[in-house]
């Protein structure tokens, strides 16, 4: 091995990210696990300290990257940091083009940490009205207790943000594509409006943007490149990719790393090293391969559904008749600049009224649960298996039926998360199920 590689001076940037996603920075200062090609699974909750002095030094260094930078850490205790999580964090930051990443036990662990370090009593969050159900639950059921106010607006029209920002605003929070209806928000526009607003405010009172990039994964979209402050992920989904491990991550600027580590230490939503290892070893390195394949299938399936007589409409960023197609094309691009409209499809079945459309949706999904081979009726996404679900009664059941409309969710909406099956097999199963509606 060359000296440049050993000393981490090797310049890998001439290689494509499809390749780099497998190697990360190649040599990590986090764990010199000798010559192992695959990382070991760290399985110790505690780490021996050679002396009290070294112990004290370890504690002094913890969450003090400002002073100690990326020096090889002194590991103390799993909740503070351990090799597998650190390796994964390094690679996640690398792939999202962020300066740092901190992992959490779940996506919700990451979301609550990102918000938790930004807001306090009396502050306000502005959020797009369509969000993952548990994020809505966090904002609506818990934050009022801490006197944190949440204002929901429609960010698909970025200009709505201009009038909504106030002195109390600390965070603008959104997903794009949004869960479940795949609303697309113009990231650059939102960032521009926030930065204009911030220009007249001091360092203490800057409004920060947080984008949940779970639906896109860094393969399809890297929001930090557009100026977003924080990307959050549920690693449980496309990045983990196999449906075996829960996980979450916050990715962003280096200056937030220490406070995120402190937050994780004190609130305790730490990622298990065994899960970190699986995501590091299986998930991330196959992200390009899996996602590219799933997008190919999603495009074909969206086109199929788009002209099916039983279907009212299809939301898929890759359909040229989708209302957000142009924005999606601008911001959802893979590592090589190709348009990558994602692996999720949202659609609504026809019906005389919303109730009838919902009933048709239920019939259709029950038929699939019963008869289909290539699909599972189940929540989650970014799996090897195609998953189908009914947001109004599952992922978004926190939203009462009378409020579905204002959250952009249809009573009969169906969310389809494409897996790795042969695409024609998925279409065959969909086709059979849709026949019963006609």
């Amino acid at each position: 091995m060359s000296e440049e590689k050993k000393n981490n001076k090797f310049d890998e940037t001439k290689y494509s990210m499809d390749t780099r996603i497998i190697y990360g920075k190649n040599i990590s200062t986090k764990w010199d696990y000798s010559h192992h090609v695959t990382a070991p699974i760290s399985s110790s909750t505690t780490f021996r300290l050679d002396s009290v002095e070294r112990g004290a030094h370890g504690f002094e260094r913890f969450a003090n990257t400002k002073v100690f930078g990326e020096e090889t850490p002194i590991f103390i205790y799993d909740r503070l940091g351990e090799p597998n999580k650190d390796l994964l964090e390094e690679n996640l930051a690398y792939v999202e083009n962020g300066e740092m990443a901190v992992t959490f036990a779940t996506g919700m662990g990451a979301i609550s940490a990102a918000l938790g370090i930004c807001v306090g009593a009396g502050d306000e969050i502005i959020a797009h009205h369509t969000l993952y159900g548990c994020t809505i639950s966090l904002l609506n059921n818990w934050y009022p207790r801490y006197n944190i106010n949440v204002k929901y607006i429609d960010l698909t029209n970025a200009d709505n943000l201009i009038g909504a920002l106030t002195d109390k605003t600390k965070v603008v929070y959104f997903e794009s594509p949004a869960n479940p209806n795949l609303d697309i928000i113009d990231i650059k526009k939102i960032v521009k409006i926030i930065s204009d607003f911030n220009s007249s405010r001091d360092e203490e009172h800057q409004v920060l943007s947080i984008l949940d990039n779970t639906f896109s994964t860094p393969f399809c979209q890297r929001p930090i490149e557009f100026g977003v402050d924080f990307v959050v992920h549920s690693l449980t989904k496309g990045i983990g990719g196999f449906g075996t491990d829960m996980g979450g991550a916050v990715i962003g600027k280096r200056k937030y790393k220490d406070i995120l580590l402190l937050y994780r230490k004190d609130f305790g939503a730490v990622l298990s090293p065994k899960s970190a290892w699986a995501i590091l070893t299986y998930g991330l390195p196959t992200l390009s391969l899996r996602t590219r394949n799933q997008i190919q299938s999603a495009k074909k399936i969206a086109n199929y559904l788009n002209v099916h007589p039983a279907i009212e409409f299809v939301n898929y960023p890759g359909l040229s008749n989708y209302k957000y197609y142009e924005v999606a094309k601008k911001q959802m691009v893979d590592f090589n600049g190709e348009f990558s409209p994602g692996t999720l499809i949202y659609f609504v079945l026809k019906g005389k009224n919303p109730a009838a459309s919902k009933e048709n949706g239920s019939k259709f999904m029950d038929y699939i649960a019963d008869k289909a081979y290539t699909m599972n009726l189940a929540v989650s996404l970014g799996h090897t298996r195609t998953l189908i679900e009914h947001p109004a009664s599952m992922t978004h059941s926190v939203v009462p039926p009378e409020k579905l409309n204002e959250r952009g969710i249809d009573a009969g909406g169906v969310r389809l998360a494409i897996g790795l099956e042969n695409v024609d097999d998925i279409i065959k199963d969909l086709d059979e199920a849709l026949k019963i509606i006609l």
Partner: protein
């Protein structure tokens, strides 16, 4: 060091790179070579794996041996003895070893020109008579499975060495916590770590321990060339289990002794075999070569009908193959573990249709006794 101290520490110094107190699960099977023609210890996972090596070092210390090798099953560990055998060689085996050992020797290895004699080791004279110029190994299990006959390891080793043979002992039933064959003169110790060593009925594994470097090299050659190695994850699980081996064995022993004493006076039992009972014909030998009596009790009921009914009535004891787990199991030897023997073969060594092997777990002993009593009624 004491047994428990070694169980917890031997081989397990904190990870060099991170100081992790518990060694990592080293998953890689290939190792980047620093330079061409370099002399790195680790090359490829079948030959070397760090987690496996830690387990090997650990069991070597516990058995008071110098070297150990890990395998993907107890049977694979026994099969590794082929490293010291060749076509034409002869092995003398104690006549009621585990059925899978019998099958391996009688049905597989015999195909390769290795011959076996099955002898009752109670009678060492007939063992000596069976020794020929081709004999290489005396292979014993003590206590035997399922009849719990004991074999005097000391005397068998002396006999082996007198004739320049190796004495191999399958120590699965006792574990090094209760019996250390190498200290009694044996040359090689075999384990099915599937049993007490792992103890939680979730890993299949085997181990071989020895003192002689030449034997070690030969068996290591088999480990690498046949490739029946355990996964790093399984090695890690066994390592974690061994940490509680001492406490588990004490409890198995305590529960089994109490149950054996109570069952001794039960009219519905025709015969009870447990080395810890004074009625066991080799109770004195048991006290000499073992420091406990283990968790296995064998009983014989009056007839097959009663046996079936007993097995079906048990609620806590599960009817299942295997033994040595924290949960109590019962096994019908004739149809399960020893089904590979012929009818006559079974009867010759005393495995009747009414024989039941009980693996006493570490549940509350009152519950176990109650369950046995209700099923025996």
């Amino acid at each position: 060091m004491g047994f428990s101290t070694d169980a917890i520490h031997a081989g397990q110094t904190p990870d060099k790179a991170t100081n992790a107190v518990i060694p990592p699960i080293y998953m890689t099977y290939t190792y980047a070579q620093e330079e061409f023609g370099g002399n790195q210890e680790y090359h490829y996972g079948r030959s070397q794996n760090m987690t496996r090596n830690i387990l090997e070092q650990n069991i070597a210390v516990l058995e008071d041996g110098k070297y150990a090798l890990a395998f993907s099953s107890g049977v694979a560990a026994i099969h590794s003895l082929t490293g010291i055998l060749k076509s034409g060689d002869h092995v003398i085996v104690s006549d009621n070893v585990y059925g899978g050992t019998y099958r391996l020797f009688d049905k597989s290895l015999s195909q390769f020109g290795i011959t076996f004699s099955w002898i009752d080791f109670d009678d060492l004279l007939s063992v000596e008579k069976a020794i020929t110029l081709q004999t290489k190994i005396l292979f014993i299990e003590t206590p035997t499975n399922p009849l719990l006959n004991l074999i005097d390891i000391n005397r068998v080793s002396e006999l082996a060495h007198k004739h320049n043979l190796l004495c191999v002992v399958d120590n699965t039933f006792m574990t090094p916590f209760f019996q250390k064959p190498l200290n009694l003169g044996a040359d090689v110790v075999i384990h099915s770590s599937t049993k007490y060593l792992n103890g939680h009925s979730d890993v299949i594994g085997g181990l071989v321990v020895m003192n002689d470097k030449v034997v070690f090299d030969k068996i290591k050659f088999v480990q690498n060339s046949i490739g029946a190695i355990p996964s790093p994850f399984d090695c890690w699980l066994v390592l974690r289990s061994i940490k509680t081996l001492a406490v588990r064995m004490k409890q198995h022993n305590k529960n089994a002794l109490q149950i054996a004493k109570i069952l001794s006076s039960n009219k519905n039992i025709k015969k009870i075999i447990y080395p810890g009972l004074e009625t066991h014909p080799q109770h004195e030998l048991a006290k000499e070569q073992m420091t406990g009596f283990g968790g296995i009790i064998t009983i014989e009921l009056n007839d097959f009908e009663k046996t079936k009914s007993f097995l079906n009535k048990l609620k806590i004891f599960t009817l299942a193959e295997s033994l040595g787990g924290v949960e109590s199991l019962v096994n019908h030897s004739a149809t399960m573990t020893h089904a590979s023997l012929s009818n006559e073969g079974r009867l010759k060594i005393g495995i009747t249709d009414s024989l039941i092997r009980i693996s006493v777990g570490i549940e509350d002993v009152e519950d176990l006794i109650q369950d046995l009593n209700q099923a025996l009624k």
